[in-house]
């Protein structure tokens, strides 16, 4: 029975697929008809979409012309034809009176977006005009009040009108409508945060003034007092927002700066740790950078710094902090003092010792990985420090007889690094531009690819007084450490 069923199924399947093929070929024919025509058009598809859109019912001309009007505005904006856009906008405003309440309610937001764009760029427009427009639009659709207020404030900020922006934000902050919905809450937090940012701006200005004042000056006290006031208000405004998952870099940065200034290191650490490690927040490299910089300022232990950068390494392996990361790893990998301390400890800690040894090795290995990772990026190819580190690191790794580590890294790169870094072209241009860089690269090339490699050959053939010694040393090192066995 099941077999029969299966048969029937396949039968109907094949029928269906035949139909599919048929319809496809038909469509193809149609399409080719279109394409062989004069213009590029898909009228068949267009018509189809139109009928689907209106559910087969004929759309009213009003709806049709307003949607045409919208696309004319969009086209004009795209072509930076502000005047034309304004002309069409004049007609598009009718949609606010659409009898279709759904469209009518969606209209204010569209009008605000298009209108503010036009008013931002139109040569005849000015701040006053923008203000009237924004104030009108705020009161049309209640739902957009906060969003428009915020964007209005940003516009004012853009025009350097900080006080007006601040007033605007304060107004929006106190505005309430119905029951507070979650989207409103985020917006209000954002508005408050922007207000906080403005206060931070005032605060940091005061700070600069203060730094120029003498401590004994009688003005110093009042100034520092007002600074304190500002900072208090700001922290209230900023604090709420950064609890909510999101990317709030400027807010976090200024908040931390103020906390640190008033000596609240724990508060600052908490904010930054939360910002970097809370899983609800989107992955954000800056969060880790801020935390790292803070910990560095705090002179935190190396292990802690490494653990922060480890995460950054996973997100942005090409970040310039990666060289610093490498240094930290190298230091931790080859440090002797921890060993000597541990030597004094009793036997039961010996397991720990083994662990730390393993950890150290791991750090060294990771250090190598990090360097390879940095040099994978086109933007870092001329970073002399990176090459220097790599040359040194390779030598040490091979000296420590960890050939396997190098091979592991090299295996995935041996197909493309020679062309990417060690081509004849690069040899020539590197030598011309920066002889030290060329020497470091040549050393790496020699170790990884052997004496026969073009880059190495080109550099080693150069006869230059200053670098003659260097090249000699390089040749020697290559001979000693190259992972390529010339015999094979």
């Amino acid at each position: 029975n099941s077999e029969a069923c299966g048969l029937r199924c396949t039968e109907s399947m094949s029928d269906f697929s035949e139909e599919l093929i048929k319809s496809v070929t038909e469509d193809d024919r149609r399409e080719t008809c279109e394409l062989s025509g004069t213009g590029m058009q898909l009228p068949w598809l267009q018509k189809h979409i139109e009928t689907v859109d209106t559910g087969g019912k004929k759309e009213k001309d009003f709806a049709q012309t307003t949607s045409a009007c919208l696309s004319f505005i969009q086209e004009a904006l795209l072509k930076h034809q502000w005047q034309q856009a304004a002309e069409y906008m004049h007609s598009y405003l009718q949609i606010l009176e659409d009898s279709d309440s759904y469209k009518r309610q969606a209209a204010p937001e569209i009008i605000w977006k298009l209108g503010s764009e036009i008013l931002y760029y139109h040569p005849k427009s000015n701040v006053e005009m923008f203000n009237t427009f924004a104030d009108r639009m705020k009161n049309i659709g209640v739902m957009n009040y906060l969003k428009i207020s915020l964007q209005h404030a940003l516009y004012l900020l853009h025009h350097g009108m900080l006080e007006d922006a601040n007033r605007n934000l304060s107004q929006a902050e106190t505005w309430r409508y119905g029951e507070k919905s979650s989207s409103q809450e985020v917006l209000i937090n954002l508005i408050q945060a922007y207000k906080g940012l403005l206060q931070y701006y005032a605060w940091s200005k005061k700070k600069r003034e203060l730094s120029q004042l003498d401590k004994d000056d009688y003005a110093y006290n009042t100034a520092s007092q007002s600074m304190r006031d500002h900072s208090w208000k700001t922290s209230v405004n900023l604090g709420a927002l950064i609890q909510i998952p999101g990317v709030w870099d400027p807010f976090v940065k200024s908040y931390v700066e103020m906390l640190e200034f008033y000596g609240d290191q724990d508060g600052a650490r908490e904010v930054l740790t939360n910002y970097a490690y809370d899983e609800k927040f989107p992955s954000n490299p800056n969060a880790h950078i801020y935390l790292y910089n803070f910990l560095k300022r705090e002179k935190a232990p190396r292990e802690k710094l490494i653990s922060v950068l480890k995460i950054l390494y996973q997100i942005v392996p090409s970040h310039k902090l990666m060289l610093e990361f490498h240094r930290l790893l190298r230091k931790s990998g080859s440090s002797q003092e921890s060993m000597s301390i541990i030597n004094c400890v009793k036997l039961f800690v010996q397991t720990l010792i083994i662990m730390t040894v393993a950890e150290k090795e791991e750090h060294l290995k990771l250090g190598l990985e990090v360097l390879f990772g940095v040099l994978d990026f086109a933007g870092c190819t001329k970073n002399i420090t990176a090459w220097k580190y790599l040359a040194k690191c390779l030598r040490q790794t091979l000296m420590g007889s960890h050939l396997a580590w190098v091979q592991e890294e090299w295996n995935s790169r041996k197909n493309w690094w020679p062309g990417f870094h060690f081509s004849y072209f690069w040899a020539k241009s590197d030598w011309k531009e920066d002889k030290t860089l060329a020497c470091e690269k040549a050393l790496v090339a020699g170790i990884l690819l052997g004496k026969g490699c073009r880059y190495f050959r080109y550099i080693s053939k150069q006869d230059h007084q200053v670098s003659r010694k260097k090249i000699k040393r390089m040749k020697k090192l290559v001979k000693k450490y190259s992972i390529v066995n010339p015999g094979l």
């Binding site: 045409a68 005047q83 002309e87 009718q94 009898s99 005849k124 049309i140 209640v142 119905g178």
Partner: protein
């Protein structure tokens, strides 16, 4: 302001849907979140019932309220009468003779009122409301001449005041001998007119209800009766170009004729008229009015295909010589006969010729006869013409299809672009907004004000010089001159390269022809197989698109008309297609 007192008002705000009300100094409710002031006042709410006009009136002072809100007592049909009046006036300024308004349209309208039992009959629908199903007034309507008293009745002044242009008290006089005091109280709740609610509910069998699109059917019928030089497509184009009141025609009503509630559904229009729709309505109205045979369309009438073909040949820049061929096609197809052309609503199957569409279809058929339009022959003929024209610069040039195509394509594309832009900029909303109820009123007015303010703001950003001055109405949309190389005029070009001598007469070099439609529906619908654009040659598509743009009709509609003419022209072939169905067949001519 007293928020405590406003607590019992629990409705949602019409603007922001919040329930948070305060009371203004005048005792009206306003929304505390969006500051929208309603028309509702506290006293009315306290009654606990749906606001009754009477209570409201008492609360506000009876007289003042009546004057402000009510305006005149008027009927829906008066509104339509007013629109017709405006349209007739507009037609007059377009150059149509004054008889159209004073005699023809006036009489049609009176006849309509009588047939629909709204006036000029013993038992008008208003006095006897629902029981008026059995009406024993005039037994036979079919004979136009048997009602002389109706035709001479000039009691309806709005149409007849041709001499005096001023019409201040035209509308105060009403043709309805009705007592309406009792109705007005209740009816005014939902409409400005007295019978708006009732009118929108009315569904009587056999009665053609008046609508705004039907006003155009009336206009066209009168134009046809007068055999004026305006075709249906012209009329509709004039409507779209705002030469004839149609969209928001109600805003020209006298100030005292208030519209709201149900009137909105009756008088507000958000689409331009559509050819097929108005065409159908016109036949419907003519049949309903039981109109007699219309005046004959003879060869000297503008609507005769020979004349219309000449007009459209000029319009699309084709050689005058083609007129000879169109006349022959008209003759052979038998579509130039008076009986064929004249509209007779009482004939068994009332239908009228789509004069403009048919004339254009004849031109398409002629183009197919001359050039075959198979994306091949027309181009090779063009090569011949081009070579000839290069060699003989002094002579009358041969018509070059390719060159014509290039000129036309460019002009039409430009025109279409402008047309689309103008449509996108069209302002639909009237200065006098319509609202559903008095509660709605303030919201609607406020919204209107807001739009006006915003529009003002954006108009300051637009060049002060108006880009497009209002176009003057013209039956021609293109203008061809010899001088301009971009818009070369082909009227004087000859068809020599395309015709050849055969004995005494000329025949087309091309002896092939393909039929636009192979099979016609067998069913009673008489539809032609649908037009699937991609099945046809590009030249044919271009020509159909060109003409259908000129007439503002759908391409498929024109294709159908072309097929119908071919059906008449090649009757014999069509009867044979039942057996054979080869795509192209030879057709001998001349």
């Amino acid at each position: 302001m007293d928020l405590e007192e406003a607590k019992e008002f629990k409705e949602r705000c019409a603007q922001c849907a919040a329930v948070s009300w305060g009371l203004t100094d005048e005792g009206k409710y306003y929304c505390t979140s969006c500051h929208n002031v309603t028309e509702r006042s506290k006293e009315v709410i306290d009654t606990g019932a749906i606001p009754n006009t009477k209570i409201q009136a008492i609360n506000r002072g009876l007289k003042r309220k009546r004057k402000l809100e009510k305006g005149w007592d008027w009927y829906v049909c008066e509104g339509f009468q007013h629109i017709l009046y405006q349209q007739a006036e507009a037609l007059k300024t377009l150059g149509v003779g004054p008889e159209l308004k004073n005699e023809v349209l006036h009489n049609f309208w009176k006849r309509y009122l009588q047939k629909s039992k709204q006036a000029y009959c013993k038992n008008p629908v208003y006095t006897s409301k629902r029981k008026a199903t059995v009406l024993e007034d005039n037994p036979s309507h079919s004979d136009w001449d048997s009602e002389p008293e109706l035709l001479s009745d000039l009691s309806c002044p709005s149409f007849v005041e041709s001499g005096a242009e001023s019409q201040p008290d035209v509308h105060t006089q009403k043709p309805f001998p009705i007592i309406k005091a009792s109705q007005s109280e209740t009816a005014s709740i939902c409409s400005g007119s007295l019978d708006g609610v009732e009118y929108s509910l009315r569904k009587e069998k056999g009665i053609v209800k008046m609508t705004v699109p039907r006003t155009l059917a009336f206009c066209y019928l009168s134009l046809l009766w007068q055999r004026e030089t305006i075709t249906l497509s012209d009329l509709l184009r004039f409507v779209e170009e705002d030469h004839i009141p149609y969209i928001n025609a109600f805003q020209y009503f006298p100030e005292e004729m208030k519209l709201y509630g149900r009137d909105k559904g009756i008088f507000a229009i958000e689409s331009w008229p559509n050819y097929e729709d108005i065409y159908k309505k016109m036949i419907e109205v003519a049949t309903f009015l039981d109109l007699p045979r219309f005046p004959d369309i003879t060869e000297d009438c503008y609507l005769h295909p020979n004349i219309l073909c000449m007009k459209y040949l000029m319009e699309v820049n084709l050689p005058d010589e083609m007129h000879n061929l169109t006349c022959q096609v008209v003759k052979m197809a038998g579509i130039g006969e008076v009986d064929f052309l004249t509209f007779d609503p009482i004939a068994k199957m009332a239908k009228t010729v789509k004069y403009d569409v048919q004339a254009v279809a004849v031109i398409v058929v002629v183009l197919k006869l001359l050039f075959l339009l198979d994306d091949n022959l027309e181009w090779s003929l063009s090569n011949i013409a081009e070579k000839y024209n290069e060699k003989n610069k002094e002579d009358k040039p041969w018509f070059d299809f390719r060159k014509w195509y290039q000129v036309m394509k460019k002009s039409v594309d430009e025109k279409k672009q402008k047309w689309e832009e103008a449509r996108a900029k069209y302002l639909w909303k009237s200065e006098k907004p319509l609202y559903h109820s008095s509660i709605d009123r303030s919201v609607v007015y406020k919204r209107r004000e807001m739009v006006v303010n915003l529009q003002k703001q954006f108009s300051t950003l637009v060049d002060s010089t108006p880009t497009v001055a209002k176009k003057t109405a013209s039956s021609f949309q293109f203008n061809w001159t010899e001088e301009d190389t971009d818009r070369t005029c082909f009227h004087g070009h000859s068809l020599q390269g395309i015709l050849k001598k055969k004995g005494q007469s000329l025949t087309t070099k091309n002896s092939l022809y393909w039929l636009s439609t192979q099979k016609f529906c067998k069913s009673y619908c008489k539809h032609v197989t649908t037009y699937e654009e991609s099945n046809f040659s590009l030249s044919y598509q271009f020509i159909l698109n060109l003409f259908s743009f000129l007439l503002r009709i759908k391409t498929s509609f024109l294709h159908e008309e072309v097929s119908l003419i071919e059906k008449r022209l090649f009757k014999a072939k069509y009867s044979k297609t039942k057996k054979k169905s080869s795509r192209s067949r030879k057709v001998r001519k001349y």
